[in-house]
């Protein structure tokens, strides 16, 4: 049997993987994106703080600083191309004492040196005028007008769709389990057959060290830690309108608060060891609540609708020392690994992809793909449309009149389109059209969505999963007996 051969295989459909595929598709190359799970953006890329950083957090001259500033400056355009909502709401880094005041001044200097526009050091009074929800006792604040927020999985899915639109082959449910070199090629064995490629881009997230280890001696290893978050309903009283980051006066971590593009409020994360899975801890959730009550005394925490945990892929050298920069490994020609891409990996996903694409363009002597189209159309949302447009839409496609998710106002047409575009689980639909993200957390729409997925895919409802492996929702569905 003749083995399939590609120019580039991208391993891992997280944000950097999807964007690598997309940026590579600007070149005349045969590309395949392999993802172990049933969908893209189900790992680190799904649980994070969702902030598009301005770039004053990083030391001048570092790759992170350079990429973040560049990425931030072009984020509006990127989100326009990919048809993804982006909210440039601005951020306030908050100081409650002298030590933090000094830290803010340092960030201001750093930011100026990095070329971050729109940075301003504010007095407490000025900060309260911008954000009256903050507790008293503020000492100073660093305002960054260019900070914003984007929905991370929507961005990743959009990049993936755009990559596929430009010729990238997407293979889901395909895990790389072994690799070797044969002549000049890389040979990849997956749980669904083998394939051959001239180049490999390893974006396997938490497994990126092990994936590189399939072929090369270990150089970097990932030590996971975790963090907990809370999500509050969009109608919660006392919500701030800016991203808030507390610069802690004492050693520990400060809370980050993000008014998301969906309108909900994200609070977190904590910092803790022992990340075995995406499970939250009681202490972590209690810490977030305490910090939130402290920082935003008027915030109604009874508007909490969800908590979730994130896993941080911390890269370490073999001697145990941490790597603070983006860890881009190049163990052999035409083999690139992104290992342990933490914050600001969401902000810089496109930059990282573009960086790898430039390197591979040289190594593979690839030409430009003249047909590359950077524009991807998102799923048409009924919510928020002016009345006449919404009316016309429902008349054209009756499914646009049928509401499936009441809290978030999502129609049947949107759910079906999500499935058509690759959602095979209830959470896959959620990541594409926002179902189940509101007040009732899917209690009223989960069954309907599962039934729509089942019907569209021609499987029984008992085969439909909530999320990953083993998450079938019901045992057997004897409809209409």
């Amino acid at each position: 049997m003749k083995m399939e051969r590609f120019d580039v295989v991208v391993i891992g459909g997280g944000l950097p993987g999807c964007f690598s595929a997309r940026e590579l598709s600007r070149l005349k190359l045969e590309i395949v994106l392999l993802e172990a799970r049933e969908d893209v953006c189900t790992g680190v890329s799904r649980a994070n703080t969702a902030v598009v950083y301005p770039g004053h957090d990083h030391k001048p001259g570092t790759l992170k600083a350079e990429m973040t500033v560049r990425a931030n400056a072009s984020f509006d355009r990127l989100c326009e191309e990919l048809d993804v909502p982006f909210s440039r709401c601005g951020s306030l880094m908050l100081s409650f004492g002298p030590r933090s005041d000094a830290a803010l001044r340092k960030k201001l200097r750093q930011g100026r040196e990095n070329g971050v526009p729109g940075l301003r050091l504010l007095s407490a009074d000025e900060a309260y005028r911008l954000e009256p929800t903050i507790a008293s006792g503020l000492s100073s604040a660093l305002y960054a007008s260019t900070a914003g927020t984007v929905n991370p999985w929507q961005l990743g899915i959009a990049a993936c769709e755009n990559a596929v639109q430009n010729g990238v082959r997407l293979r889901l449910n395909t895990r790389v389990i072994a690799m070797r070199r044969e002549n000049d090629d890389y040979l990849l064995e997956t749980d669904h057959g083998a394939l051959q490629a001239r180049a490999v881009v390893n974006c396997a997230g938490l497994a990126a060290d092990r994936v590189q280890g399939l072929l090369f001696p270990p150089a970097v290893r990932i030590v996971p830690t975790a963090g907990d978050y809370l999500v509050l309903d969009r109608n919660s009283v006392g919500k701030p309108t800016h991203i808030l980051q507390v610069e802690p006066e004492e050693g520990e971590k400060g809370l980050t608060v993000v008014p998301t593009v969906e309108g909900s409020l994200l609070l977190g994360p904590t910092e803790r060891e022992n990340a075995l899975d995406y499970a939250t801890t009681e202490n972590g959730l209690a810490w977030v609540r305490e910090q939130a009550a402290h920082l935003l005394p008027g915030l109604a925490l009874d508007g909490t609708i969800r908590s979730f945990a994130a896993v941080r892929p911390n890269p370490q050298r073999q001697d145990g020392s941490s790597i603070h920069s983006f860890c881009i490994e190049h163990p052999a020609e035409r083999f690139w690994s992104l290992i342990g891409i933490k914050t600001p990996g969401l902000t810089c996903a496109r930059e990282l992809g573009a960086f790898l694409a430039r390197r591979l363009a040289e190594e593979l002597a690839a030409e430009e793909n003249a047909g590359f189209d950077p524009v991807r159309r998102g799923i048409r949302r009924a919510h928020g449309l002016p009345f006449e447009e919404r009316k016309a839409l429902a008349e054209r496609d009756p499914d646009y009149g049928e509401i499936v998710c009441f809290c978030e106002d999502v129609t049947k047409a949107e759910v079906l389109e999500a499935v058509r575009r690759g959602a095979v689980t209830v959470d896959g639909v959620k990541r594409r059209v926002g179902t189940g993200m509101g007040r009732c957390q899917g209690a009223r729409c989960e069954q309907k969505i599962a039934a729509l997925i089942a019907e569209a895919l021609g499987v029984p409802e008992s085969a439909v999963r909530k999320d990953g492996p083993g998450s079938e929702i019901v045992r057997a569905a004897h409809e209409n007996v």
Binding site: D228, V231, N235, D277, Y278, A279, T280, T281, E282, G284, L285, A286, R289, D302, T304, I305, R306, S307, F308, A382, F387, R390, K391, L393, A394, E395, P398, D399, G401, E402, I403, F406, C407, D409, T411, R439, C440, Q441, A443, R444, E446, Q447, E461, S462, R465, K466, D467, G468, G470, S471, E472, I473, V474, R475, A476, A477, H478, E479, N480, V481
Partner: protein, 298 residues
Amino acid sequence: MRTFKLLVVGAGAAGISAALAAWDAGCRDVLLLDRAESMGGILPQCLHEGFGLTTFGQELTGPEYTARLAEKLAGTGVVFLPGTEVLSVSEERIAVLSRRGAVERLRFERLILASGCRERSIGSLPVAGTRPAGIFTAGQAQERINLRHQDLGDEILILGSGDLGMIMARRFTLGGKHVIAVLEQAVQYGGMARNHRRCIEAFSIPLRCRMTVREIHGEGRIRGVTAEHIDSGEREFIACDTLVTALGLIPERELVRGLEDRDWLSLVGNCHHVHDIVDSAAAEAARIGSLVGKRLAV
């Protein structure tokens, strides 16, 4: 733009009762609508008996109770529009409706909101751990079992002993499932004594008071919880493959957020406050429906 004197949102027991009473009081221009394809609100999924003792002098099932109301409604000129969601209501007394194939604006003089309530979800509690499949709210479980005939799991743990929690404990037991326990944080069950007797005692289902769930375990599917004895702080692992949450009901009033004090608006039934007994929701709704109907009478 269509115009109605009275718009009733929600055709559960409260909404139907309000519409009927308004009609009887002389209002001849009533639109009753519901997002569901049929009438009754929560009632069609309540297959147990226990509805209507006050109103009809006998204990009916939810569907039977609905049928009685529907029959009365059929004798009036109230317009019923099923499968229709009210997307928004504005200050100018215009409602935007959406249903299959159509989105329309509609003008009304008075609005009776009878939108019922929603269930509090596990996400609102400070419960740690994972969020696997196999966690259902009690109402969701009831709908899946009674209306969709689905098999949710074998080893059932129920959190919360309100009426819904207790009724579902019995429902699972009658369906041949093993209800491990009903956990309740208070010192005694939360629902009505009648439901405790008929659903818990009659089936010897363990009711464990002063207990709550602190952590959920399981990766694809739930495999158990860490439960706490609230007074001693002692903890235990309880294995289960299904967790049913009956954490209470929240009146659903998002539609009229910010308009609550308008004189053209009335709230009836569970969106006004949670009624244990359907008769009480219906009676309240009828009283208000009648008042509103008189004002709008020709």
